[in-house]
């Protein structure tokens, strides 16, 4: 408590100094590499996607806590306006009293956090031919120096001046016409803007890119599919993996592995952690082998872009278990009382993995959903024990109509036990809070050939709920035991990120429109607020002038209404939105 109080006072002092020293001159205080690395500890700002580069989404703030949360009220709202009310999956940033928030259709706003007044808007001019698979969303910005960065649906990284919103530089990193797009929030490490890319449904090759934050110059590119060669300082660097070790022929050239969710960074190991998406095409019979490094977690050296280790959660994926899910660094307490530098990820395939984050060594895999038909579990080497009956049939063997293979019903569905929405790790309870979904799918394979810019699936599918009364389940997972400590069931699928705090709270949103707060030890719902449209974004919290604030973006959309099949019955009544909400406790008189 004393530490938190001191931090609050320090934050207030800093905020005052900033107001006096910089705001008057119209100069933003530059954000440094050290500021970014300290973000998880500095409660007065939110400088990174994930409230810290490790992505724990934990704030030590405790002014809003289990006792006081019931008094939380909205203090201002901000409309994203226009006729562009589509899915809003953005996490805002807060820097020196200014909030930077991104919205659908590659837009960004700077807002005065005290009043909700707009300072500027940047509205990126998108071509008509953009091809985002899963709605025109954006997940957030990054800040560094006097600039704020975001990725656009036409595969550009744009650097804006934080004061004016004017473009400083803009870099097209791939050709949107081939299906590439950026929806992830960039990450800034050592003066570089690091981003992934989407397009796994179009036979692209997923890559991780590092650009000079000041100039936009490309420092390195790391393709994540074996056989492809990276670059360093504009020259070819090394090949990813060994060509044709786990792919046949030239399939690695259109092998997928989108890095569309972005990554995390651990200062202790000095490694970037990136998840990689499903291999292309979905029809696994066309690409025998493990298909490295699709559906994997990669540790990458930020200096060179070299892969330091990899772990594949779904070798030879046949279900679109697009394992980009965030890998969150945390201290794992072993049975012997020793602490391991570990990291955890909750995969699309329904398993929660704990890895040694220094070496990538497999520690455990525990299911976090009620059904995981495709695999019985994992062996001690971290390889899945497949249930072969649950892989859709080979079209060459027939069984389906019109040259299709036999269809299977399997869970989780391709939208995953957990999709993009980030989980949170509490330093207070040592638990992970996972936004998960209970759904299965009928899936069948069919022949397909690659064509630039066209969907490259070779599969048909329809999603079905597993239970009548709920799809979404927020679960508290103990990473040491793999046991679920509590769960909260939600009627519609959960699609928003999670935040946990030193006040013993777990915040997340629901497509029904509520931002909710739960008791971190029991899962009891303590507070909720109806934002008017579905919440499918990640909440944040910070403190300012001795008060704690909570913010979340509201706006129904994302992949579920586009791909959800029979789930439509659960979500069809939800209305569109595009609104930022900010909450705090009323001031004592």
């Amino acid at each position: 408590m004393a530490t938190t109080l001191r931090r609050s006072v320090a934050a207030v002092t800093l905020a005052m100094a900033t107001t006096l020293g910089f705001a008057g001159l119209g100069l933003a205080k530059p954000v440094t590499d050290q500021d970014i690395l300290n973000d998880a500890e500095t409660t007065g700002d939110v400088l990174t996607y994930g409230l810290g580069t490790q992505g724990q989404r934990f704030s030590p703030l405790d002014l809003v806590n289990k006792e006081t949360v019931k008094g939380l009220v909205p203090i201002w709202g901000f409309s994203f306006g226009g006729e562009k009310q589509r899915g809003q999956e953005s996490q805002p940033l807060v820097v020196d009293g200014v909030m930077y928030v991104t919205g659908s259709y590659s837009r960004m706003w700077a807002i005065d956090v005290k009043t909700g007044k707009e300072l500027w808007e940047y509205n990126h001019r998108l071509p008509d031919g953009i091809m985002p698979c899963c709605d025109v969303i954006n997940r957030g910005a990054a800040v560094y120096g006097d600039k704020v960065y975001f990725g656009t649906l036409d595969a550009k990284v744009v650097a804006l001046n934080r004061e004016t919103g004017k473009v400083v530089w803009s870099k097209a990193i791939e050709d949107y016409k081939a299906g590439y797009s950026i929806t992830n929030a960039p990450l800034v490490v050592n003066g570089m803007v690091i981003t992934g890319i989407g397009g796994g449904e179009f036979g692209i090759v997923g890559k991780v890119y590092a650009l000079d934050a000041n100039t936009g110059e490309m420092k390195w590119i790391r393709p994540v599919i074996e056989g492809n060669v990276g670059t360093l300082d504009g020259k070819p660097s090394t090949m990813t993996g060994t060509k044709n070790a786990s792919w046949q022929g030239d399939q690695w050239q259109t092998g997928g592995g989108g890095t569309w969710l972005g990554g995390t960074y651990d200062p202790k190991t000095g490694l970037l952690y990136y998840g990689t998406g499903n291999p292309s095409p979905w029809n696994s019979w066309l690409r025998p082998g493990d298909n490295l490094y699709s559906s994997s977690r990669l540790a990458i050296d930020p200096k060179t872009g070299e892969i330091k280790w990899s772990y594949q959660t779904t070798p030879h994926d046949g279900w679109d278990f697009d394992g980009v899910n965030e890998l969150i660094s945390f201290p794992l307490k072993g049975a012997d009382g020793k602490t391991i530098d570990a990291a955890a990820t909750a995969d699309r395939n329904g398993f929660f993995f704990v890895l040694d984050r220094t070496t990538g060594k497999f520690i455990s895999a525990s299911p976090f959903v009620s059904r995981h038909d495709w695999a019985k579990g994992y062996d001690e080497n971290g390889r899945p024990i497949y249930n072969t009956d649950f892989r859709p049939g080979d079209p060459a063997k027939g069984g389906g109509a019109d040259g299709k293979g036999t269809s299977v019903f399997t869970a989780p569905s391709f939208l995953g036990g957990k999709n993009w929405m980030p989980m949170a790790y509490s330093q207070k309870t040592g638990l992970f809070y996972i936004p998960s979904n209970e759904w299965g799918m009928d899936i069948w394979n069919e022949p397909i050939t690659y064509k630039k810019g066209a969907a490259y699936l070779g599969a048909g599918f329809t999603i079905k709920p597993l239970y009548q009364d709920h799809i979404g389940v927020l679960r508290a997972m103990d990473p040491a035991t793999g046991k679920i400590k509590w769960e909260y069931k939600n009627h519609a699928p959960l699609w928003g990120g999670v935040l946990t705090t030193g006040g013993g709270l777990v915040f997340t949103g629901t497509p029904e429109g509520y931002l909710k707060a739960f008791d971190d030890e029991t899962g009891e719902e303590l507070w909720s607020f109806n934002t008017g449209s579905g919440v499918v974004a990640s909440p944040i919290t910070w403190d300012m002038d001795g008060e704690q604030y909570v913010a979340v973006v509201s706006g129904w959309g994302g992949a579920v209404p586009l791909w959800g099949g029979d789930v439509a019955d659960f979500v069809k009544s939800f209305n569109q939105g595009g609104m930022l909400w900010v909450f705090k406790l009323p001031k004592k008189a």
């Binding site: 226009g82 006729e83 562009k84 837009r107 509205n123 990126h124 001019r125 071509p127 008509d128 031919g129 036409d154 744009v158 650097a159 004017k166 473009v167 400083v168 530089w169 803009s170």
Partner: protein, 257 residues
């Protein structure tokens, strides 16, 4: 002392405040525009100015196409010109061009989008810090600023974005450079289309030194066409053209004279 400072601050506050109730033509304005007072305040501030026929503005008296109204500004009859501002009193976005001729002649032709009948003005700043204002009325059916660019009828307007064509003419001791850049120049006023326009155009010599600079605003027409004149006496063999839009896209090319 303190009182005086407060008084000064108060006056400054007044000067910066909202421009309410200042409408109506001023007797000196030859065009008798209701917005001249506001234009003067916005573009010339407190600087001295004179209405002056030496700044010639040539344009059709009635706009045939509200999205492409050609005009020619010629301030060569002034002895020295540091800057030329071009604006339309009654357009929803007033500023069209802000030209710093540098080593170029104070001559400029372009096209703009007209929303309703409006004065089109050019204000040229001389070496003594005095503005010379010329202009004329252009009649129009209107709507040029709020209609979507024609490019949006194409399947993919990005395919030729930034393509630049240039022609050079010899003309009485000057080289005339006419250039056109493919760009939708979206004003942000057409429903559902964000502002997307070239903000800056720079002409450089072979060494990369700036010859002249043009700041361009939303009302400049789609696929903007610009004409500049360069004194032949400069003896230049090559000119570089660099344009940048508000999304940070940069288009550049060189032209041999």
């Amino acid at each position: 002392m303190i009182a005086r400072r407060a008084l000064l601050a108060g006056m400054a506050g007044l000067a910066m405040g909202p421009r309410i109730g200042r409408a109506g033509p001023t007797p000196d304005d030859p065009l008798q525009s209701v917005n001249w007072g506001l234009m003067r305040e916005a573009f010339l501030g407190d600087a001295p100015f004179v209405f002056d026929d030496k700044v010639s503005v040539t344009a059709p008296t009635s706009a045939e196409d509200a999205m492409q109204v050609p005009f020619l500004i010629d301030a060569t009859r002034l002895s020295r010109v540091l800057r030329i501002l071009v604006f339309a009193d009654l357009n929803p976005i007033n500023r069209i061009l802000d030209f710093t001729p540098g080593r170029l002649a104070p001559v400029l032709a372009a096209r703009f989008k007209i929303q309703q009948a409006t004065p089109l003005r050019a204000a040229a700043l001389d070496g003594q810090g005095r503005w010379h204002v010329g202009g004329l009325w252009i009649d129009a059916m209107g709507g040029g600023c709020t209609a979507p660019a024609l490019a949006h009828g194409e399947a993919d307007w990005t395919a030729r974005l930034g393509e630049t064509s240039v022609r050079v003419f010899d003309r009485e001791g000057r080289k005339r450079i006419r250039l056109q850049i493919r760009h939708p120049m979206d004003t942000g006023l057409a429903a559902g289309i964000p502002a997307f326009f070239i903000e800056q155009l720079v002409l450089t010599d072979a060494a990369g030194e700036v010859l002249g600079e043009l700041a361009t605003s939303e009302p400049v027409s789609e696929n903007p066409l610009f004409t500049f004149e360069l004194p032949t006496a400069l003896g230049l063999s090559e000119v570089g053209i660099r344009a940048r839009d508000n999304n940070g896209n940069v288009f550049s090319r060189k032209v041999t004279l």
